[in-house]
């Protein structure tokens, strides 16, 4: 993208026609080729010192998440304790990047994390479906921000996107960004509902143009969630957006990433597709819950040479 004449990006979102022209003018994604590239990157063999580095880096990139109807303040407090100090027996384990909760539990998390480096992220905008009026969605966001959330994970209106109402999706992101104030905005594309990689690329650009600080794969409530080809396309989008504008935006993968091996493979992809600059929690996150425990088990295995059982890491 770097040598393309830089389009006036303000003009792009003037109406559905020009936004459509821009998004559909992006190079297509050949699905077979993208899957092949993702599979090729997964054959990298990450061992010994590089594995240790990758495990610690992955831990520091986690948004430790609980998004259940049954969440309680007690559950959130124990999650926060784990986020700040993932392994109570080993202070060299880094804290995770943030905890991620529903808006009504933000205040609890903020209190529990006071004095730590861990951020508080909250899903908002009628998560996970996004099927509510814009007023309701924005109210949801303001609630979370007022309670102290430093990061907001919004969902886009997939129905509007699939219907081609790109300006509506764009305007909602802009409005949500305004409602966030100083909080960082992560835009959930729910790529499992967008179905094609072409759509994943277009939605990524739409969210970047509208001012999202991060683009995020999924809510975790829809399958498929984060997949290697989707991650590839989204990393290409932030790479190309940087080449075009000079600005670095982030990528968050969420949903279904449970094993250390998968996390390490994604870091390889970040490294080789977006570039080293993205190997930073400010620009790359994993939205996950059980992944943390597997990373801790692998970390211990690497240090001691033997596996601990699952009872040697805490459940929350």
């Amino acid at each position: 993208m770097s040598t393309l004449a830089r389009p006036d990006l303000r003009d792009v979102s003037r109406d559905d026609t020009s936004l459509r022209r821009f998004l559909h003018g992006l190079p297509g994604v050949d699905q077979v080729g993208a899957e092949g590239r993702a599979a090729g990157l997964a054959t990298r063999s990450i061992k010994t010192t590089s594995k240790a580095w990758a495990i610690d880096t992955a831990i520091a990139m986690i948004d430790l998440t609980t998004l259940e109807g049954a969440d309680t303040p007690g559950k959130v407090r124990s999650l926060c304790a784990k986020a700040a100090r993932p392994d109570s027996s080993d202070a060299s384990v880094p804290s995770v990047a943030a905890v991620c909760v529903y808006p009504d539990l933000v205040a609890t998390a903020v209190l529990a994390l006071r004095g730590t480096s861990v951020g508080v992220a909250s899903v908002a905008t009628a998560f996970p479906s996004g099927r509510a009026s814009l007023d309701t969605k924005l109210h949801d966001v303001r609630d979370a921000v007022a309670a102290g959330a430093t990061e907001i994970d919004m969902v886009i209106d997939r129905g509007a996107f699939l219907a081609g109402h790109y300006v509506q999706v764009f305007d909602e992101i802009v409005a949500t960004k305004a409602a966030c104030g100083a909080a960082h905005l992560k835009v959930i594309l729910e790529t499992g509902e967008l179905a094609t990689l072409d759509n994943a690329r277009r939605a990524s650009w739409l969210a970047l143009l509208a001012g999202g600080d991060f683009i995020k794969t999924s809510t975790g409530k829809v399958s498929p969630a984060a997949t290697p080809p989707v991650a590839l396309v989204m990393l290409e989008a932030v790479r190309d957006y940087h080449a075009m504008t000079g600005e670095r935006r982030g990528v968050k993968l969420a949903g279904g990433i449970r094993a250390s091996k998968e996390a390490v493979r994604y870091l390889v992809m970040v490294n080789e597709v977006a570039g080293q600059a993205w190997l930073d929690p400010a620009l790359f996150r994993f939205g996950a819950s059980s992944l943390l425990n597997d990373l801790l088990l692998q970390r211990h295995k690497l240090a001691s040479g033997s596996y601990d059982g699952p009872d040697y890491v805490t459940v929350d």
Binding site: S2, T3, V29, G33, S50, W53, D56, A60, V268, D280
Partner: protein, 483 residues
């Protein structure tokens, strides 16, 4: 994160495959009439191109061994093999295919040691595709009557097969599997710099208890190849290698009753239109010219890119090439390994120097090359004119020549403007353009939105000076059937 003291750089620690897996022996013997024996030619050391250290000694064949091998192949042909029911022959082929899989790691490491190609390729391409060819043709052995060659097609006889050093095991599989499926017997000569995996394949064939003489493997140089070609009792020659040698063989066989198939050089055009899926096109370009260090007859060595996306594509390509890892072929993270021989390296150097001298712009990503061994950095030439030698001659190395075009007609004209015609690539999201280009490109294989994909069910072969005859698929049977 910023507080963490660790380096922000993701360095991949070495991840070498163990050399022990190759089960290298100090010496290897040729295989004639079901037995291994020392050849009557010279004992030659085969070396590892990655460090120039000797790997093993090979007792090469002499002229007397060629005579013995052809005689053994004839006896096996007249004896059990040609008369054996197809489904019985198929069983032997299935057995070979399974044994290749079982010894897959050993063959992959051995191939990387002897050839210099990265273990990632020998493990993920050479060995599995070799096994797939045996599986595929095993399935044909009892169905030849349904292949469109008449109700009861007959084998040709004794096939002399001469294969190159770029895919030593895979080319052996391409040659042997269809020949045996059709009921022929074989005298195979692997290339002089890469005999080891073909000799291990001979071990597999011996362990599969094929009747003696059905497959004979002779290590040796050009003189042995010539002796096979000239032998009166050989019914068919199949050769893969340079166009130069292919022409010599064709001259030698003119006026004889021997049948011939040739798979020779190429200078393939990889054509990228402005509506192509560009990220995938970049991968296809990389795979097209840097796979196996570009030592591939169907390599996409000429990139034809539409002018309107040329700058963008070259930028993306250069960024991508900066992530290629050049070095130890046995490291699982190596993307580009060693050039096979000093002679080949010299040829690549000579042609790239001509590119610079003729005024093209040379670019390589920053990469450290090992001190010992035969190494050449991935290289891209821009500003190439169709008249430059690097746009016309086969370099057979990791060197890409970039040319531009404005219209589909111009792309087609430039792509076809070569004495070769083995393969081509077309990158566009427009289906009708793919079909139109494929119909007009004078190339045996046209890949659409991909490159260098091989499957035993797909025929492969050339137009013009890239040779004749097809290997793979139903078409691949034709070369080994008298009909």
């Amino acid at each position: 994160m910023s507080a963490r003291a660790k380096s922000p750089v993701f360095e991949y620690a070495p991840a070498p495959e163990s050399r022990e897996i190759a089960r290298l022996k100090p010496s290897y013997q040729i295989f004639i009439d079901g037995r291994f024996r020392d050849g009557s030619g010279d004992a030659v050391k085969t070396i590892n191109p990655a460090d120039e250290q000797p790997l093993a000694e090979v007792a090469e064949a002499g002229p007397a061994d060629v005579a013995d091998a052809v005689a053994a192949a004839r006896r096996a042909y007249e004896g059990p093999w040609s008369a054996m029911p197809g489904k019985e022959r198929g069983k032997y082929l299935f057995r070979i295919a399974r044994a290749i899989q079982e010894r897959g790691r050993e063959l992959a490491v051995l191939e990387s040691l002897d050839n210099g190609k990265p273990i990632r390729e020998s493990r993920d391409v050479d060995v599995p595709v070799a096994a797939a060819h045996f599986f595929y043709y095993a399935g044909w052995a009892d169905k030849l009557g349904y292949g469109g060659f008449g109700p009861d097609p007959r084998p040709v006889g004794v096939a002399g097969q001469i294969i190159p050093w770029n895919f030593p095991l895979l080319m052996a599989a391409w040659k042997i599997a269809p020949a045996l499926a059709c009921g022929n017997t074989v005298v195979l000569k692997p290339a002089e710099t890469t005999p080891l995996t073909a000799l291990v394949l001979a071990e597999i064939i011996a362990e599969a208890e094929l009747p003696a003489g059905v497959v004979n493997v002779l290590a040796g140089g050009p003189a042995i190849g010539a002796a096979i070609v000239e032998h009166d009792d050989v019914d068919k020659i199949a050769f893969t290698g340079s166009t130069e040698v292919g022409k010599i063989i064709q001259r030698t066989l003119a006026g004889t009753s021997k049948r011939l198939s040739l798979e020779l050089g190429g200078k393939a055009a990889n054509i990228v239109f402005d509506d192509a899926p560009l990220d995938q096109a970049v991968e296809g370009i990389v795979n097209g010219i840097f796979f196996n260090q570009g030592q591939v007859c169907c390599a996409g060595s000429r990139l034809l890119v539409q002018e309107s996306v040329a700058d963008e594509l070259i930028d993306s390509l250069q960024r991508r090439l900066a992530t290629l890892r050049v070095g130890d072929p046995l490291d699982k993270n190596t993307d580009v390994g060693a050039i096979n021989s000093a002679a080949q390296l010299a040829r690549i150097r000579e042609l790239t120097e001509s590119g610079v001298a003729e005024g093209a712009t040379r670019w390589s990503p920053p990469c450290e090359l090992p001190e010992r061994g035969f190494w050449f950095a991935p290289t891209v030439f821009t500003g190439v004119s169709p008249a430059h030698r690097i746009a016309r001659e086969e370099i057979f190395g990791p060197v890409l020549s970039v040319l531009t075009f404005r219209t589909p007609a111009e792309a087609l004209e430039k792509a076809n403007n070569t004495p070769y015609g083995l393969s081509a690539g077309v990158w566009t999201e427009k289906g009708s353009r793919i079909l139109s280009m494929a119909a007009q490109l004078r190339a045996g294989v046209v890949w659409a939105n991909t490159f260098n994909r091989f499957d035993p069910s797909a025929p492969f072969g050339g137009y013009k000076e890239s040779g004749f005859g097809r290997e793979g698929g139903r078409h691949g049977l034709e070369a080994y059937l008298a009909h």
